[in-house]
Amino acid sequence: MNSILEASAVDCHPASVPDYTPLSELRALQLRRLQAVVLRSWQQVKLFRLRMDERGLTPEDIRSLDDIAKLPFTVKSDLRDTYPFGLFASPMKDVVRLHASSGTTGKPIVVAYTQEDVDVWTSVLVRCLAGCGLHRGDIIQVAYGYGLFTGGLGAHYGAEELGATVVPASGGHADRQIMLMRDFGVTAMCCTPTYFLHLIERASELGVDMKELPLRAGIFGAEPWTESMRKHIQDSSGIEAFDIYGLSEIIGPGVGCECRQHQGLHIFEDHFYPEIIDPESGEPLPDGAEGELVLTTLSKQAMPMIRYRTRDITMILPDMCQCGRTLRRIGRIGRRSDDMLIIRGVNIFPSQVESALLQIEGTLPHYQILLTREHGLDQMEVQVEVTPQMFNDKIGALQELHQKLQGALDHVLGIRVRVALVEAHSIERSEGKAKRLIDRRTL
């Protein structure tokens, strides 16, 4: 195994030192932090206290890391049901930041950070970027959305703390992104992989050859992507593409990231404890077995998450990485254990579409969600069959209906989708039930 010194010659940022903590020390640290976060949640978070009581558990029952399996799970709907501040473990005066992501009923999910949480978040991002071979002197363009979405600000703070020059471009405006990349001599991009595919295509239309640019790395996340997409990105742009993982409920981007070995994503285990469970039974599975990833925040103050079910299907890789980090790795996320879709980095549940349609009509018309990928960008079309109740023989009334549906879907989903009114019975039905989702996205 590499020594810390050898390894740090590659990823030379002081923040990366915990990546190489000897295993016994790391496990001891994890246990101390787990005990502390369980105690804190038990004292401060009503829902968690209640669930512990139901199981006859107290914080003293956590004596080893394996005891984590006794603890109750936290699920996405818990955040929704306690909206907005029900899971906070810190008083608002200690909360320095709120972020929010789309929820299943139009209400967002709120997450909170103390200053300490922001510092931890920043430090894991530094470790991600350093692990990708970036350092002071790099010019990093952040093309994740800035705002309530955690992607933009998370990557921004990390890149700045790394000592790099940050270009906070935020999302959208492909032509301007490409101009900035070229004119500023950007060396690394942070965005979703599909957005980068779009930039590659657009650059070639504009006559900009990405391979001629100083750009050498891309840190891509917020949606699942594949090895073949990586190959396509690398071949057509000449950069090294890294997969980064995170979710707002845990902290945002930076829960895990690939190193230059590109053999799975290291989880920053000193802050986020990973487990794999059988999504049906909830039983823990051993390293190497595929199941649902469950994460516990070990150091989070404002909003700790105990055994949060991510619904992402992956495995903990059983062996150690060649890079020398002692942090365990998860395989790349390929699918989910629920029906959540990730469209342009935004989480969408088909049930949200139903609730939006119900809001307008009162009864649910037949509908279908059609996903396609145009210019590397996911497109979502919702086709709605016109029912006799909806039909009006005035064009103006139909257009009004169309706009109402569009407005309700935009509001509930948080992204722009296409709405198409289609003829009754035009959506294919199998055994009387309409197929709700057609996914035609390919690389």
Binding site: V386, F391, K394, L421, V422, E423, A424
Partner: protein
């Protein structure tokens, strides 16, 4: 005085008007007038047919979304100014036209205007007061 008009929802795609029209033809239903109101994505096919009850029945049985609305028909002389005279008279009454369309009556050298008003009964009274001659259903559909 009121005429029953049949409206269909149709996507703006090739073949989407032919299908219902063929269906009516097979059942021996005569289409007296057909008007298409369209947007980029979809349209409304409005028809005045020889037997609206049967037509609506047939179309609904085939899965079409059908709406029957009451419209008014006005006959004007097919010469310059004929249409303007009627429209000006309508303006005077102050009632709002939701939509209208016109087609020539080739047999009589006249034109027929079809009007849709929010409240056809009020419109009938107003039009009659304004001296505008309304066509009855059997006059419109006579062979």
């Amino acid at each position: 005085m009121k005429i029953h008009q049949i409206s269909l929802f149709a996507e703006n795609k090739p073949g989407h008007i032919a299908a219902p029209v063929r269906l009516l033809e097979k059942e021996g239903i005569d289409i007296r007038a057909l008007y298409l109101a369209d947007t980029e994505q979809y349209g409304i096919v409005r028809m005045i047919v020889s037997d609206w009850r049967k037509a609506a029945c047939i179309l609904e049985a085939q899965g079409f979304v059908v709406k029957v609305t009451e419209v008014l028909a006005v006959e004007v002389l097919d010469h310059p100014g004929g249409l303007a005279d009627v429209l000006e008279a309508l303006d005077q009454t102050g009632i709002n036209i939701e939509y209208m369309y016109a087609f020539p009556d080739v047999r009589e050298g006249k034109a027929i205007l079809i009007f849709r008003f929010a409240d056809p009964d009020v419109a009938i009274m107003q039009l009659q007061l304004a001296g505008i001659n309304l066509l009855a259903s059997d006059e419109l559909l006579k062979d």
